[in-house]
C-alpha cells in the first residue's frame, strides 16, 4: 500500500488517563478508529466525552497513555518531540475554537506561517494563499492583523493556514463554537468545498448540530468511548 493509500488516521486501543490529584480521569478509553483520506468526519459528544482529548492524541499534541496511533501511516505514539513537531508540520493542520491566529502577523503571514516553516518557495506560497483566500472570500484582507478581522474572518484565515500546507488531515476543535449561525454556515460551506474539491480530510470535534449535520461520518463519543459510528451518503 502506498503512503497516499494509507488511512489518514488509525488508532488501536488508545487510552488517555490524566491524574488529577488523587483521582484518575480516563478521558479516552480503548478507542480504535480508522479515518480514511478525504473523509469529512465529526467526533460528537457532550463536554467531557473525550473528543478533544482524542483529537489532541491524533494530532500529536499529547501522547496516549496506552495504545497506538498512526497518522498517514506513521506511528506517532513513540515519536520523539522533534519527530512529533515534524509530523504536525507536515501532516496535520489545526483549527481551534478560539481561532488562535498569531496577533503580530497579518492574515497573509498567518496563513503562510506553516509553509514558511516547511520551506515552501515564496511564489508557491503566494499561489496557494491566493487561491485559498479567493475560495474562502478573504481576498483583499491579506494585510489585516487578526484584531482587525471578525471572528468568522479569523476562522477562515485559520482554515487557510490549516489547509495551505497540504497536510494529510485537518483537525478542527469546535471550529464554529465562537461564531454566529451565518458565519458558522459560511465556514462549513468553505470547509465542505475544500473537502470536495481538494480532497482535504477534515476531522471535527463538535457538539454543534450544524457540523454534525454536514458530516458524512458521525462518530459519537461518551465517557471516553465510541458509542456509535455512522457513515452517511
Amino acid at each position: 500500500m502506498t503512503q497516499a493509500n494509507l488511512p489518514a488516521v488509525r488508532t488501536e486501543g488508545v487510552w488517555k488517563i490524566f491524574q488529577q490529584e488523587a483521582e484518575e480521569v480516563r478521558a479516552v478509553r480503548d478507542v480504535s478508529v480508522t479515518i480514511e483520506r478525504g473523509e469529512f468526519t465529526a467526533l460528537a459528544g457532550p463536554s467531557g466525552s473525550g473528543k478533544t482529548t482524542l483529537l489532541n492524541v491524533i494530532g500529536g499534541l499529547t501522547r496516549p497513555t496506552r495504545g497506538r496511533v498512526w497518522v498517514a501511516g506513521q506511528e506517532v505514539s513513540e515519536m520523539s518531540n522533534q519527530a512529533l513537531a515534524r509530523l504536525r508540520l507536515e501532516q496535520v493542520g489545526f483549527i481551534f475554537q478560539a481561532y488562535n491566529l498569531l496577533p503580530v502577523l497579518t492574515a497573509m503571514e498567518n496563513a503562510e506561517f506553516p509553509m514558511l516553516l516547511q520551506g515552501v518557495a515564496a511564489d508557491e506560497r503566494a499561489a496557494r494563499i491566493g487561491e485559498l483566500f479567493a475560495r474562502t472570500g478573504m481576498a483583499g484582507l491579506e494585510d489585516r492583523r487578526p484584531g482587525k478581522l471578525s471572528g468568522g474572518q479569523q476562522q477562515r484565515v485559520a482554515v487557510v493556514r490549516a489547509v495551505a500546507s497540504r497536510p494529510a488531515l485537518v483537525l478542527a476543535d469546535e471550529p464554529t463554537a465562537n461564531l454566529d449561525s451565518a458565519s458558522s454556515e459560511a465556514l462549513l460551506d468553505v470547509m465542505a468545498e475544500l473537502n470536495r474539491d481538494l480532497g482535504v480530510t477534515f476531522v471535527f470535534a463538535t457538539h454543534d448540530a450544524r457540523v454534525m449535520g454536514r458530516a458524512r461520518r458521525l462518530v459519537r463519543m461518551g465517557d471516553g468511548q465510541i458509542d456509535s459510528d455512522e457513515t452517511r451518503e
Binding site: L61, L89, P103, P114, L117, G119, R161
Partner: protein
C-alpha cells in the same frame, strides 16, 4: 527555522508591548551609555596615572641589574656595554615607533649637605637631553632652569630639599655617596634649578645631576643603574618587554639583566589601578544585575501572557527548541538594539570630552597625589576598541543569560494544556 521568521516575530512582539519594551530599553540604554562613558574616563585617568607615575620613576619598561631593585647599590649596576645593548635594542625598527623616550640613569642614595645641614637624597645622574624627554620634572621648574648638556657640576633639586638645606640658585651643595670602590666619595655641585613636583617624597629628596659628573665622581664611567623607556601608551608594554627579553636573552639568562614592566617596578600604582578597576567592575556588575532582572521581567511577562500562543506555535510544527529560540531572540534583540543605542550615546558623550577633558578640579583641587603619583584633575577619556568590544559582549551576555529562563519556560510548555489556557 527561517531566521527571517524569528526576527519578524521578535520585533513585532517587542513592539506589541511598546511601553514595557521602551521602559526596559531605556534602562539598558542608560546602562550601556554609562558603562562606555565611565570606562573611557576610567581608562583615560588610569593612563594619566600611569604616564605620570612612570615618568617620575623608571618608565613603562626598565632594564636593570636584577639585584638593584632591592639593594639600590651602585655595585648592582649595568655595565656600559649592557646599557648600549639595551639602547640599541630599543632603536630597532620592531619597536622604535612605540618608543617615545629612553633615559639611562644612575640612581644612588646619597647624603646632601650645605652650610645649613644635611639631608638624605636620591641622586639621579642623567643625560639632560634624554631625561628632558623622559621625565616631567624639567617642566616643574620653580626657579632657575633644568640641566643642560654642557653642564658639569650642576644640580637640579627639589623645592623641599632646597628649603631644608636653605639652598638657592647658585648655592653650593655637597653630595656624598659610596663609589664603585666602596669608598665614600664627595662631590661639590652648584644649584642651577629648583623644581616642585607636588609629591613631598620627590620634592624633599630628588637631585638631578649630569651623568658624566657622576661617572667621574663615583668611578662608574658610562655605567648606569637602569635604562628607562617611555612608550606611546601602556598598550605597547607587552610587545616591548618581549622584544627586549628576546634581544637581551643571553644577558637575561645569565642573570646580568632583568626587563621589568611598570607593574613590576611600580606595584603600588598597579595595585591602585587594579583596586579602582575592581570598584568599577563591582558597581557596574550590580547595575547590570538590576538591568538583567528588568530584562527577565520584560521577557518573562511577555512569555506568561503568550502561553496559548506558544502552544499554537508548537501545534503548527515548531519544536520546543525553536519556541525557546523565539523568546531568546526577543531578549537578544531587545538587548542588542538597546545596547547599540547605549554604547553609541556613551561614545558620543565621551567624544564630546575628548578635546578638553572633564575638569574635576572643583572636586579634587588643582593638584592631587595618589600612590606617590601626581594626578591631573582634568581627565581625558580614552577610546579603546577592546573596551568597546568588551562592553558590547558584556551587554549581550547579560541579555542572553536573562533571556534563558523565559526561553526555557516557553520551550517546556505542555501544548495541550496551553491550548486550554484562557486569557
Amino acid at each position: 527555522m527561517h531566521v527571517r521568521i524569528l526576527l519578524l516575530l521578535a520585533m513585532r512582539n517587542l513592539r506589541r508591548q511598546m511601553r514595557r519594551t521602551l521602559l526596559t530599553s531605556a534602562v539598558m540604554v542608560l546602562g550601556g551609555a554609562l558603562l562606555i562613558f565611565s570606562f573611557s574616563l576610567g581608562d583615560g585617568s588610569h593612563e594619566n596615572w600611569i604616564d605620570s607615575g612612570i615618568r617620575t620613576s623608571s618608565g613603562h619598561v626598565t632594564v636593570e641589574q636584577p639585584a638593584f631593585r632591592v639593594s639600590s647599590k651602585i655595585e648592582d649596576r649595568l655595565t656600559a656595554a649592557l646599557r648600549a645593548q639595551a639602547e640599541q635594542a630599543l632603536a630597532m625598527a620592531d619597536v622604535a615607533n612605540e618608543v617615545v623616550a629612553v633615559s639611562s640613569r644612575l640612581r644612588i642614595g646619597a647624603l646632601a649637605s650645605s652650610a645649613a645641614g644635611a639631608r638624605p637624597a636620591q641622586v639621579f645622574a642623567v643625560d639632560p637631553a634624554a631625561e628632558a624627554e623622559f621625565s616631567t620634572l624639567d617642566d616643574q621648574v620653580v626657579e632657575g632652569r633644568y640641566l643642560e648638556p654642557d653642564d658639569r657640576l650642576a644640580a637640579y633639586i627639589g623645592a623641599g630639599l632646597a628649603s631644608s638645606l636653605e639652598l638657592r640658585i647658585g648655592s653650593r651643595l655637597v653630595v656624598q655617596a659610596q663609589d664603585t670602590e666602596q669608598e665614600i666619595a664627595a662631590q661639590l655641585l652648584r644649584v642651577v634649578g629648583i623644581f616642585s613636583n607636588g609629591v613631598p617624597e620627590v620634592d624633599q629628596a630628588v637631585v638631578h645631576i649630569p651623568l658624566a659628573t657622576a661617572g667621574e665622581w663615583l668611578g662608574s664611567g658610562q655605567d648606569v643603574t637602569n635604562v628607562g623607556v617611555v612608550l606611546s601608551g601602556s598598550h605597547a608594554v607587552g610587545p616591548v618587554v618581549s622584544h627586549l627579553e628576546t634581544t637581551l636573552a643571553e644577558s637575561v639568562i645569565r642573570g646580568d639583566v632583568r626587563v621589568m614592566d611598570w607593574r613590576e617596578a611600580n606595584p603600588a600604582l598597579a595595585a591602585a589601578i587594579a583596586i579602582d578597576d575592581f570598584g568599577n567592575y563591582l558597581v557596574f556588575g550590580i547595575l547590570f544585575l538590576i538591568i538583567a532582572f528588568g530584562i527577565v521581567n520584560t521577557v518573562l511577562m511577555s512569555v506568561l501572557h503568550r502561553h496559548r500562543e506558544f502552544g499554537v506555535l508548537q501545534a503548527l510544527g515548531l519544536t520546543p527548541g525553536q519556541t525557546g529560540a523565539i523568546v531568546l531572540v526577543e531578549g537578544l534583540t531587545l538587548t542588542a538594539v538597546s545596547g547599540f543605542i547605549g554604547v553609541t550615546l556613551g561614545l558620543v558623550g565621551t567624544w564630546y570630552l575628548l578635546s578638553n577633558g572633564l575638569d574635576m578640579s572643583a572636586l579634587v583641587g588643582e593638584e592631587m597625589t595618589f600612590s606617590g603619583v601626581v594626578i591631573d584633575p582634568v581627565i581625558v577619556p580614552l577610546f579603546r576598541v577592546a573596551r568597546i568590544v568588551q562592553v558590547v559582549a558584556f551587554i549581550l551576555t547579560i541579555g542572553a543569560i536573562a533571556s534563558v529562563y523565559p526561553a526555557l519556560r516557553a520551550a517546556r510548555i505542555d501544548v495541550a494544556e496551553a491550548m486550554k489556557f484562557e486569557r
